[in-house]
């Protein structure tokens, strides 16, 4: 019997994960969230809906994604064997598409002709633009003006896919501001627009449904672990911004008490410097942003703090509410990886395994580097390689002093 069984029965009827989560939105959006919740609760156990979702994941996304033994890298580090869950091989190059496929099906069912999304690194924006193109939906993506600059390639990808990318100039001009602007759009165009949120945050029911759509990652990893090494992994490692790829990998293992889990946040220049994006690892206070209560980086006056990370996709001051609860109950350990360690992991995996990871995913790799040598060679670590690094080539080149 797992001591964490209660965790699988959340959220409660009002979208709460213990003290976290909920639905903190202005009144205009309440009916849309009620509608979405009703639609989803009806469809989540509907065999036809699930069959359509599974079909798309198999034939459009290319699932299951492999579980790859990074043998050379494991040997170099010494200690546990490292396995990479290759979400980078999905269509569009990251785990994000699992969720956008699911939400696009919901959008289709709801009959709304327009979808909107927020994006940080651009991966969720690309994944949304992709499914919108496929379903013939009008698509607009909000992206912080600073992120538009550092992720030009993804911006152009979205445009090629027919989406309109709207740079957001307010606030810190990053992911949180993109989400503010997407919420403002939604409240204005709520009758004909479906908001595809890209992470396990936002108001209920988003954290739940984004989790459910990404949980395919963990279900596959569980089955593949049994096939590949005949037992469950000893540890799971995934990066955490909002936390959707970590949630997807971890959730199907929640009741496996012997499987340790590590969520790796963006340490930026270091958690003690204040320049980071690690609300859990830094023990940020509780707060309310974007419709849910969670750990939230804010100052003494309750103003949301500026964050810093080398990776646009993790540059977010909050975190999904279910992660907040998992920290409190001790199910997952949340740590941070600093920018320099992340870059080192990025380069190392590229050179040793011929796999170029997204800078987001390189946070998980950086922690695997720390963890593996502390474990035995007969132990196994599964790292979620949540996205590929092509989009980050410009960022890394710039650090190397090159401009194209």
């Amino acid at each position: 019997m797992s001591k964490f069984s209660d965790l699988t029965r959340l959220p409660d009827a009002r979208g709460h994960f213990g003290p976290y989560g909920g639905r903190f939105v202005s009144e205009t959006l309440s009916f849309a969230l009620d509608d979405l919740e009703k639609t989803y609760m009806r469809l989540r156990d509907d065999p036809d809906f699930q069959a359509e979702f599974d079909y798309d994941l198999a034939h459009y996304v290319g699932r299951p994604s492999p579980l790859y033994h990074a043998e050379r890298w494991s040997k170099k580090l010494g200690g546990a064997r490292i396995w990479l869950k290759r979400e980078d091989l999905n269509h569009t190059g990251a785990h994000k598409v699992n969720n956008t496929i699911g939400q696009a099906l919901l959008a289709k069912m709801s009959g709304k002709p327009r979808v909107i999304a927020e994006t940080g690194a651009g991966q969720h924006g690309v994944a949304t633009a992709t499914v919108a193109a496929r379903l013939g939906l009008k698509c607009e993506v909000y992206m912080g003006a600073e992120d538009v600059q550092r992720q030009k390639l993804n911006v152009y990808r979205m445009r090629l896919l027919g989406a309109k990318v709207i740079p957001v100039e307010s606030g810190t001009r990053t992911l949180k501001d993109a989400m503010n602007e997407a919420l403002r759009d939604w409240v204005t165009n709520v009758d004909d627009t479906f908001y595809i949120i890209g992470t396990v945050a936002g108001p209920h029911p988003y954290p739940m449904l984004v989790r459910d759509f990404n949980a395919v990652v963990g279900r596959e990893a569980r089955r593949q672990s049994l096939e590949e090494f005949g037992k469950l992994p000893d540890a799971l490692v995934a990066c955490v911004g909002g936390g959707s790829n970590a949630m997807g990998l971890f959730y199907p293992f929640v009741e496996d008490d012997d499987v340790a889990m590590y969520g790796v946040e963006a340490g930026g220049d270091g958690v003690d410097t204040g320049r980071h994006a690690a609300p859990l690892a830094s023990n940020a206070p509780r707060g309310v942003l974007h419709g849910n209560r969670t750990y939230l980086m804010s100052d003494e006056g309750g103003q949301v703090s500026d964050t810093h990370s080398i990776s646009a996709g993790l540059d977010y001051p909050g975190v999904g509410p279910e992660h907040a609860l998992w920290k409190d109950v001790g199910r997952v350990q949340y740590v941070a990886a600093n920018d320099d360690a992340v870059l080192e992991a990025f380069r190392e995996l590229t050179r040793i395994e011929g796999i170029m990871p997204a800078l987001e995913s390189a946070h998980a790799l950086a922690h695997a580097k720390v963890l593996a040598p502390t474990m035995r060679p007969d132990q196994n670590i599964v790292v979620n390689l949540s996205g590929r690094g092509d989009k980050d080539i410009m960022t890394v080149a710039k650090i190397d002093g090159l401009e194209f």
């Binding site: 202005s26 009144e27 503010n180 009758d191 707060g287 309750g302």
Partner: protein, 271 residues
């Protein structure tokens, strides 16, 4: 009796509509706010909504976003708002003041501490934009204990069932959001507002005040025909923005635009 209830009772007896201006505290700089509040009262304000600047005002359009940014540049926070209202109360003991803002700054102080300090400063009501009644289980009673009114929003998209819940929790007045959108958006449709207000009358005795999309005397009068009060925010805040570099001119600007609305409302037949 709470100052808000007293004010609405008085207006009802006179057959008049409430005029409720909103400004963001600390915009364009903290030293001006109390003066603006007095100017608003001189121009005919019945209740003042004082905005709490927040880094992420999700329900607000660009005009109030920028007002928040101007105020935050000066580091304005809730403790400063309490000081402002305390100073305002030295000269004005009657005009109700409602704090309007987002939950995070309040939670950061702590609900109990917030309620105690707000009541002590002379604040009468609290409107937390991102806290619907379902999430107010804890906060509501704490405010009530300190005699602070919990003011809630009703939107065009609110179902009759939800409206009943909101009316059951609401105090002071009900804030009807006339538009789907953020603050400062398009002009409202008065016929549409009338249609939505009618069923609310059956649910509550609370005064029904309408905000979003009211920008001048004409639009105030249109809404005043069907509502117990009109709320005006972005139209005032955009004047503050225009004169941010000449703050001494702002009070007169605010008085001019609010005065026009006061006249338009008072020209309507008695309710």
């Amino acid at each position: 009796m709470n100052r808000i209830d007293a004010r609405f009772a008085e207006l009802k007896a006179q057959g008049r509509r409430a005029l409720i201006p909103y400004i963001t505290a600390g915009d364009p700089a903290p030293q001006h706010t109390v003066g603006f509040m007095h100017a608003l009262v001189e121009a005919g304000a019945d209740v003042i909504e004082l905005g709490v600047p927040f880094s992420d005002p999700m329900a607000d359009g660009p005009v109030i976003q920028k007002a928040c940014e101007r105020a935050l540049k000066h580091g304005v926070r809730l403790t400063h708002l309490f000081e402002m209202v305390r100073e305002f109360r030295q000269r004005d003991a009657q005009t109700p003041v409602v704090l309007m803002g987002y939950l995070n700054p309040v939670e950061r102080i702590g609900l109990e501490a917030f309620a105690a300090q707000a009541a002590d400063a002379g604040i009468d009501g609290v409107l937390t934009v991102d806290m619907p009644p379902e999430e107010a289980d804890e906060f509501g009673p704490i405010l009530e204990q300190k005699g602070l009114a919990s003011i809630f929003l009703v939107a065009p998209t609110t179902s009759q069932e939800r409206a009943a819940t909101i009316c059951a929790h609401g105090e002071g007045y009900l804030y009807y959001v006339a538009l789907k959108g953020v603050t400062g958006a398009a002009t409202l449709n008065a016929a549409d507002v009338a249609e939505h207000l009618a069923p609310l009358r059956g649910l509550t005795e609370l005064p029904l005040c309408v905000g979003f999309g009211i920008r001048d005397g004409a639009s105030a009068a249109e809404v005043g025909k069907v509502a117990d009060g009109v709320i005006v925010g972005s139209a005032l805040v955009s004047r503050i923005a225009e004169h941010a570099e000449q703050p001494d001119a702002i009070a007169e600007e605010l008085k001019a635009i609010l005065g026009e609305m006061r006249q338009a409302l008072d020209a309507l037949p008695a309710r």
